[in-house]
């Protein structure tokens, strides 16, 4: 009973931490989304030198380096250039750019799956390349991206807990403080943190599933359940 009281008393700080976690996740995803789309479009339609000298190295770097290393690079490494940025800002940059690299691959796959025929049809109506992308390619590609994007959302939200390591007082750090302050039960407090993460990921994925259904294109929805497979019928 005493232990539960600790959780109850710590709830305001846990919720404050949750707010920071959500804030971080929001900025990671927004930065990743906007930059990811630009990178994906550049990779599909851009000139060759841009791809080979900028987009591909960027994407490879941010996908190859561990997130914790990125966080340390941006936070502790920035002082080398005499740039003073907050831990929050360093986290947003490191993880946002990392997410951009991953999201660019989600969008690139979706854009390439649309096929050249749609572009030809749009161009033959007299649309510019940008208009074709805006009105024909992206509306289809973004719909196709939702399932993979839901995965990226879950990954990014959970990885925001790594910002703990550079001192951002997000959910996990608030949990750590409660354990330290009250000599409380670590299992119980961290379980509460785990539960909050779980709820956030679960709710977000439900919302994305709803969007996927709402914006599905008749005839192109991703099938939930297939009919009996050929093997089963034999």
């Amino acid at each position: 009973m005493n232990q539960l009281q600790i959780i109850w008393q710590g709830l305001p700080s846990l919720l404050a931490g949750t707010l920071v976690t959500l804030n971080l996740t929001f900025y990671f995803l927004i930065l990743g989304f906007l930059l990811g789309i630009v990178l994906a479009l550049g990779q599909v339609y851009g000139p060759f030198p841009l791809k080979i000298f900028f987009i591909v190295p960027f994407e490879r770097f941010f996908r190859a380096v561990p997130e914790l290393v990125l966080l340390f690079l941006f936070f502790f490494g920035s002082s080398f250039f005499r740039i003073n940025i907050s831990a929050f800002m360093a986290a947003v940059l490191a993880m946002g750019l990392r997410s951009a690299a991953y999201q660019s691959q989600i969008f690139r796959g979706a854009i390439q799956s649309i096929g050249e025929d749609q572009m030809r049809a749009a161009r033959s109506l007299g649309m510019s390349t940008l208009q074709s992308i805006r009105y024909v390619i992206l509306p289809q590609a973004l719909r196709l991206s939702i399932p993979s994007w839901a995965n990226e959302y879950a990954v990014v939200l959970k990885d925001s807990s790594l910002a703990y390591a550079i001192g951002v007082t997000e959910l996990l750090r608030q949990g750590r403080y409660i354990v330290a302050r009250t000599f409380g039960n670590a299992l119980l407090v961290y379980s509460a943190c785990a539960l909050i993460y779980f709820v956030l990921v679960f709710a977000g994925n439900q919302l994305l599933k709803f969007l996927e259904k709402k914006y599905k294109i008749p005839g192109f929805e991703i099938q939930e359940r297939r009919d009996q497979s050929v093997l089963e019928r034999i």
């Binding site: 025929d117 749609q118 030809r120 049809a121 749009a122 161009r123 033959s124 109506l125 007299g126 649309m127 510019s128 208009q131 009105y135 024909v136 509306p139 289809q140 719909r143 294109i217 008749p218 005839g219 192109f220």
Partner: protein
């Protein structure tokens, strides 16, 4: 004599070492229908996409009325908006319903108000007999219906010329008729059309001109009457004989 809508002069196009078009020249006059025939791989589709510069040609000049399309200073988007194109695989925008497919070019390219675009869209879809399918998505339509939507999409832009790239070859035999009927009506109403097709019944019914292409050159060109009855080249005769056997269109 009606004025010339399209003039193609000495058009060349290569993909790597493969020379697809080896100097094509022809003209299409207003209100006329030109049918291009020839075995696959002879550059018929490349010729069509070179006309609206979706595939830029290597050499040669093309005029749409008095605008030179091949002039680097020409605004290609403006030119393309006045040349309709109907594809073998329809290429309808899969995320838009029939009406929105027809409206998109009007609102985005021609900057026509949404209300007016809807009126035009409904009018054109009526013309191709699809007024009851305005809100159906491409995947919910049959191949023939999809192709008619794509004809309506081309028509809505009030083009000076429509290019048809094998419009019926991806269709079930039962659905070919409904598309051809729309095209015949269109030709009769005075639309200028260039049609790559082996539907000889269609060619006999409305073509003013048949062009036979082989290996990137025009082998022979003439009215259907002349081509079917008095063609000079033995290759043309052989090809015409084969496709009339396959696709019909013999005189009863």
């Amino acid at each position: 004599m009606p004025k010339t809508v399209l003039k193609v002069e000495n058009l060349h196009k290569s993909y790597g070492n493969l020379e697809v078009l080896k100097g094509i020249s022809f003209q299409v006059r207003q209100g006329e229908t030109t049918v291009i025939i020839g075995s696959s791989g002879t550059g018929k589709s490349t010729l069509l996409t070179c006309i609206n510069q979706i595939t830029p040609p290597d050499k040669g000049r093309i005029w749409l009325e008095d605008i030179e399309i091949t002039d680097p200073k020409t605004d290609l988007n403006m030119v393309r908006s006045s040349i309709g194109m109907v594809f073998q695989h329809f290429n309808l925008f899969t995320h838009l319903n029939a009406l929105d497919n027809v409206r998109l070019g009007l609102t985005v390219v021609k900057k026509i108000s949404p209300e007016r675009a809807t009126e035009i869209g409904i009018e054109k879809l009526k013309l191709v007999g699809l007024e009851d399918k305005l809100h159906s998505y491409p995947a919910e339509l049959s191949g023939g219906q999809q192709q008619r939507v794509s004809i309506a999409r081309a028509l809505a832009m009030s083009p000076k010329l429509i290019l048809f790239d094998e419009p019926t070859s991806a269709l079930d035999p039962e659905l070919i008729g409904e598309v051809l009927n729309v095209m015949i009506e269109l030709a009769k109403s005075g639309m200028t059309m260039i049609v790559v097709s082996h539907e000889m019944g269609f060619a006999r019914a409305v073509a003013n001109d048949i062009i036979f292409m082989e290996n990137g050159v025009i082998v022979e060109e003439g009215t259907p009457e002349a081509m079917f009855n008095y063609c000079k080249n033995p290759r043309t005769r052989e090809f015409l004989h084969k496709i009339t056997e396959l696709y019909g269109g013999k005189k009863e």
